[in-house]
Symmetry: C2
Subunit: 249 residues, 2 copies
């Protein structure tokens, strides 16, 4: 598969090829490519940069993570394939536990993903031996560990399915989502809804965690309204769409 | 891979599984799943129904196809996998030639796609033995047949790459695109830009072709402004986005 280097979307197409390769290795489920495409579309509508509202949500996310008793960073196939290193770095800086949790669960894929994260530098990754279930989910997606997801008070879920996001909120947890679609069920449900490309979001949250005191975190959380922030996100996307249209024609 | 039937997006997830299977069979390139996901996102923003502006473009498309000297319906892997039957039916009703033209070209995939279309009821499918090139393209995407794409005056390109759309317009052809993203290079470049889900678009164009006289087609083409129509599409998407946001929260 040779993509000509003079193709105007060469880099984006190369990222696609890389993800497609991850499917070949079994790390990413084929339908995960469709999810990635959905995300790409929203990123495109945002001008492929972090919106002001998204940065605000990323700061609030950092504050919640700093204040947490048992914070957990959740990792699925797409997230690991897109940027394992930044997920590991954020977990290290908070510090938070890492737990692999996937929609299309097989023991083989779990082992592969956990080994992959370890090879990318993670010290300990939970998820190999689940001993708990998230209430209200009917499939293997419910499986988790007690010390990780089950007992967490604040949980970061990059690229999460709507069902699981709802079930986690139903358990009383603070759920921080990274989902480019601000209207998805996940974004509608989360306590803090970050609509941004995952790598950019992780970079920003990590920087905020590094620079924020516990005192700052308390007032940050108090001053944040997720509903208002989601509205600002949607309005920015509309403004971008019209601007793109005017610019392109 | 079992998706629980109580999952709220069960049907959409099943379509995804089907496309993923087509990847397994070699009909769809893995990166085609990402393109599908991008489309899904825009369809979602349109409320998963045909916008008024899209219907207007579909009528104009029918008019151009009726008036054409040598109309061609172009088919790639995604288009064939999504709805071969409707592509074949439209070509039959116009009547137009069918030609397979793919981005990731191998002889094996070409043969597989053409055989697949034949098994779905197509009489003749061009593309097996390309004898011409679309000027200005550096890869195998340039390959086409003289009697089909090369000599066509009006060409329907569902889910087309921006480079090829530009090159076809550069050859002086009337290019009709079906692309859910109204801001894509393909949509910006096409003579008639249809932003609609492919199956819905094909149904509508087929109905218009059936009901339109040659006289109607002339005035239809004269009265159509693609630039105005694209603006109406983008405005509808924005209105939908805000409505969705208000409805969901």
């Amino acid at each position: 598969m040779s993509i000509p280097e003079d193709h105007p979307r060469y880099r984006s197409l190369m990222t696609r090829e890389r993800l497609a390769e991850m499917v070949g290795k079994g790390l990413v489920n084929p339908t995960g490519l469709i999810s990635h495409g959905r995300g790409e579309a929203f990123d495109y509508l945002m001008g492929e940069r972090t919106l002001g509202a998204s940065l605000r949500a990323e700061r609030a996310a950092a504050a919640y993570l700093i204040r947490a008793r048992n914070p957990v960073v959740c990792v699925n196939g797409n997230a690991a394939a897109l940027d394992a290193k930044r997920l590991i770095e954020l977990a290290r800086v908070i510090p938070a536990k890492l737990e692999v949790n996937i929609f299309h669960r097989t023991e083989e894929r779990m082992e592969m993903l956990i080994s992959y994260l370890e090879s990318e530098g993670a010290d300990e990754v939970l998820g190999r031996d689940p001993d708990s279930r998230i209430p209200g989910l009917s499939s293997d997606r419910a499986l988790c560990t007690k010390e990780g997801i089950f007992d967490s008070d604040v949980i970061l879920v990059p690229i999460e399915d709507g069902d699981r996001a709802e079930a986690l909120v139903g358990m009383g947890k603070v759920v921080i989502s990274i989902d480019l679609n601000p209207l998805s069920r996940t974004s509608r449900t989360a306590t803090v809804s970050i609509s941004d490309e995952m790598s950019r979001a992780l970079d920003n949250i990590t920087s905020f965690v590094r620079g924020m005191s516990r005192g700052d975190a308390v007032s940050e959380v108090e001053g944040f309204s997720n509903a208002e922030n989601r509205r600002a996100t949607v309005e920015s996307i509309c403004a971008n769409l019209m601007r793109e249209f005017e610019g392109g024609h």
